[in-house]
């Protein structure tokens, strides 16, 4: 069930109505959230619903046993059982074929022919996300940051809450569980704010991402037929596609959760206005990067232990982050490239230089800020080529063919008609994002001081624009494949 589908447009109000009007007590609200989350997931693939339930119950049970264990070795046993089981499921479904094929290819280079079985495995939707939810819980309980949840319904809602189930944000038990465990009251301003954020998420997804996808796919899938300048256009279209697709999903998830009185973690903070790569990674997929920081980088030693350990840990994080996205060398290459971008900042100790919002309180950035943002933007756009390519070979072929005689020709074959309209819309979109960059999401405060006619006219303009650009063949969200 896509967020931008008729089915979801029926599902959400139905659950909302029952939640606030019928199941008014906390216990019943949580049961409703759990059942509706299972239904939501089953609409994707009912076969993997049992895997989700099993993984949830296993985590719940092992954490209770871990917490009850008096002996340290027993505690560690339950802890590692939980970790290995959850990572085992993830590893099997997501990475088995990759390792089997890669290992076989590596042996072939040494003249050894092997026949590893590859399995026709379907990747369960959201497995990367809900696995990491569960891991954050077990680690936080093990470190005694929180008490284990006794109520299996509350824990299940934490893992399976439908707005974040298939593509995050990756929530923390310390942040989400308390909200699930306490009474929730309807708040008019929060609900309105939630609807506004959903609207903005739909604008990003339907108007920008889905239309950029047309051109990005057209160019990447047939890159040998396009000029160097067209390939740059393709990379830029993908840059906006992935941002608007993923952050649009997050906006819809956060807005939807707010309708039920629940605040989720912010996942994006206007990353394309970053002044350096370090700032970019503080603003992009925040829930994942902070997860890796807290549960991998810091336990590895973090920035303590000298420069080389810091570099090592940084590379590990970026490579693992790349690998988390998918079983392909291109994701590893993308992660490694970002690590190389980060390295100069790390060595010069400037990785925590830009902690505030660029040009805070001002409309126009300084020339220096503009150059810094443009440079960071181009570096990330370049890295996205690896992320989008089907293989390392395709990525290098794509990049090398950009730098040809056709680099300085106008890409007539791409930039015509509808594509020019999309570019104009992207420019307007980035202006709105720039104006709203100090808020939770771009249009959070737009129109709040206007009269109702003006404010509703603005919302209707966005709604009609969504309707105008909506395609009947709905594009799935990119991050569902992770």
């Amino acid at each position: 069930m896509l967020f931008n589908s008729l089915n979801f447009a029926i599902f959400l109000p139905t659950v909302f109505f029952i939640y606030w009007f019928i199941t008014k007590k906390l216990k019943y609200q949580n049961i409703l959230l759990l059942l509706s989350s299972y239904f939501f997931y089953a609409c994707w693939d009912y076969r993997f619903l049992f895997l989700l339930m099993f993984s949830t119950l296993l985590s719940y049970y092992t954490v209770i046993k871990m917490h009850e264990s008096k002996i340290n070795s027993s505690k560690k046993f339950w802890f590692w059982l939980n970790i290995f089981t959850n990572l085992g499921f993830l590893g099997f479904f997501k990475y088995y074929n990759f390792f089997a094929v890669s290992f076989a290819e590596a042996l072939t280079h040494f003249g050894l022919k092997t026949n590893f079985w590859t399995l026709k495995l379907i990747l369960p939707v959201g497995i990367s996300f809900y696995t990491f939810h569960g891991l954050s819980y077990v680690i936080d309980v093990y470190k005694e940051k929180i008490e284990p949840v006794k109520d299996v319904i509350e824990y299940s809602v934490f893992v399976c809450f439908f707005p974040l189930l298939v593509a995050g944000p990756i929530e923390r038990a310390t942040h989400l569980l308390p909200q699930i465990q306490k009474n929730r009251y309807f708040d008019y301003s929060k609900a309105s704010d939630g609807l506004r954020q959903i609207l903005w998420g739909l604008v990003k997804k339907i108007i920008i991402a889905d239309n950029c996808a047309i051109y990005a796919n057209m160019i990447f899938n047939d890159s040998s037929n396009y000029s160097g300048s067209a390939k740059i256009a393709g990379a830029l279209f993908f840059t906006f596609q992935i941002y608007c697709d993923f952050s649009g999903y997050s906006d819809i998830a956060l807005g939807t959760a707010r309708l039920f009185g629940i605040e989720l973690l912010k996942n994006f903070s206007f990353p394309y206005f970053s002044r350096d790569i370090a700032e970019f990674w503080r603003r992009w997929h925040i829930s994942l990067t902070t997860w890796f920081r807290d549960y991998l980088y810091i336990p590895l030693g973090g920035s303590r232990g000298g420069t080389w350990m810091n570099i090592r840990n940084t590379f590990i994080i970026f490579l693992v982050s790349g690998f988390w996205h998918g079983a392909n060398w291109t994701f590893l290459a993308w992660g490694a490239l970002n690590a190389f971008y980060f390295l100069p900042l790390l060595l010069s100790k400037k990785n925590r230089k830009n902690l505030d919002t660029v040009a805070s309180g001002k409309l126009i950035p300084t020339f220096r800020e503009f150059i810094a943002m443009s440079t960071t933007f181009m570096l990330t756009a370049f890295a996205w080529i690896f992320f989008r390519a089907e293989s390392i070979t395709q990525a290098f072929s794509y990049i090398s063919s950009i730098f040809s005689r056709t680099l300085f020709t106008f890409p007539h074959e791409v930039l015509k008609g509808r594509a020019l309209l999309i570019i104009a819309i992207i420019i307007i979109f980035m202006i709105i994002e720039w104006i709203g960059r100090e808020n939770k999401y771009a249009i959070e405060k737009i129109g709040l001081k206007w009269n109702i006619a003006a404010r509703w006219s603005f919302y209707y303009l966005l709604c009609l624009s969504i309707m105008f650009f909506m395609r009947q063949d709905q594009q799935q969200f990119i991050y569902f494949q992770f």
């Binding site: 008729l6 606030w20 008019y188 509703w456 309707m467 009947q472």
Partner: protein, 320 residues
């Protein structure tokens, strides 16, 4: 809470009223140059030309690949080319001519390999925008029915926007070069043949990743048989033939195509008047995709088409 619900309900109601108002205007039917709007004229031909006719049923492989004027000249039959878009699907293509079959009509079916029976809802709905009767030829789901006013609204706004831009351009006296786009209503001639591409350079290239066909038993055989029986009840004759296809792709997909042919020979009750390799051409006879012939390919295909009809259809009908 009540305030929230009331405001939201009122907002939604106003929005739906806006959609209805914006989708109400149907002027775009007259002004549009949309490719799918070619269906309007094809159906006018079907209704107005008296029988017996040769009706060519299929996807864009026939739209781009047959010179109906030449067929008409040689065989002395009126020809109607119903070919338009692969996304319409087999059932749509067969259903759309059922009401207009006349006695002694000759119906030639030439469809893409394993053409899906149900087709693409997006393409079908798009066709129905311009030719409302098209709704009878496919099953609309609830979401498609609800989405239809949105499609109409999109088309209205597009046409109005284009008119506005064209008016502004004319006021500035830009030199207008009138080139008929290949995928437009104006690309079709008076027989329903697509012709705008004929003098354009070929851009066809094989996509070795996506152009490989997988074998499956073709479930459309049952639908073809049902159609054959229906046409026979109306005293019309139906024949099956294969699409044009490039040599290099045929070599790669030959085993699958042969298996498909064997299934048709076994289970299809209408006469098959060519073999799969009859319309296999060199790659440079194709315009942009592996079903769209350029002028050279089209001329040769038309000649072969005429020969086939003479040998397997016209002379046989005359003898009968």
């Amino acid at each position: 809470m009540n305030r929230f619900i009331i405001k939201l309900a009122f907002f939604t109601l106003l929005f739906f009223i806006m959609i209805v108002l914006l989708s109400y205007k149907k002027n775009y039917l007259v002004d549009t140059n949309d490719y799918m709007a070619a269906m309007i004229y094809k159906h006018q031909l079907l209704k107005n030309i008296p029988g017996p006719r040769i009706i060519i049923v299929g996807d864009s492989n026939v739209a781009f690949g047959i010179d109906s004027h030449e067929v008409e000249k040689v065989l002395n039959y009126k020809v109607i080319n119903m070919g338009l878009h692969i996304g319409l699907g087999l059932d749509f293509m067969l259903n759309e001519i059922k009401d207009d079959i006349r006695p002694d009509d000759i119906i030639i079916i030439s469809i893409a390999w394993f053409l899906p029976e149900t087709g693409s809802p997006g393409v079908q709905s798009h066709a129905a925008l311009f030719y409302p009767d098209a709704k009878k030829y496919f099953k609309q789901s609830i979401s498609e029915i609800l989405f239809f006013p949105v499609l109409e609204m999109q088309e209205n706004i597009k046409v109005d926007f284009k008119k506005l831009i064209n008016n502004k351009l004319k006021k500035r006296n830009f030199n207008e070069e009138i080139v008929t786009p290949v995928y437009s209503r104006r690309a079709f001639n008076e027989y329903g043949d697509a012709t705008a591409h004929l003098d354009l350079p070929s851009t066809f290239k094989i996509d070795y990743k996506n152009d490989i066909i997988s074998y499956q038993y073709y479930k459309g055989i049952k639908n073809l048989n049902n159609f054959y029986q229906y046409a026979q009840s109306k005293k019309a004759n139906v024949y099956f033939t294969f699409p044009c296809y490039p040599e290099s792709l045929y070599k790669i997909n030959k085993k699958v195509i042969d298996a498909y042919y064997n299934d048709l020979k076994k289970d299809l009750i209408m006469p098959i008047i060519t073999t799969p390799d009859y319309l296999i051409f060199p790659d440079n006879y194709f315009y942009d995709t592996y079903y769209h012939l350029n002028r050279k390919g089209r001329d040769i295909r038309t000649k072969l088409f005429i020969d086939t009809l003479k040998k397997n259809v016209i002379n046989k009908n005359t003898n009968n």
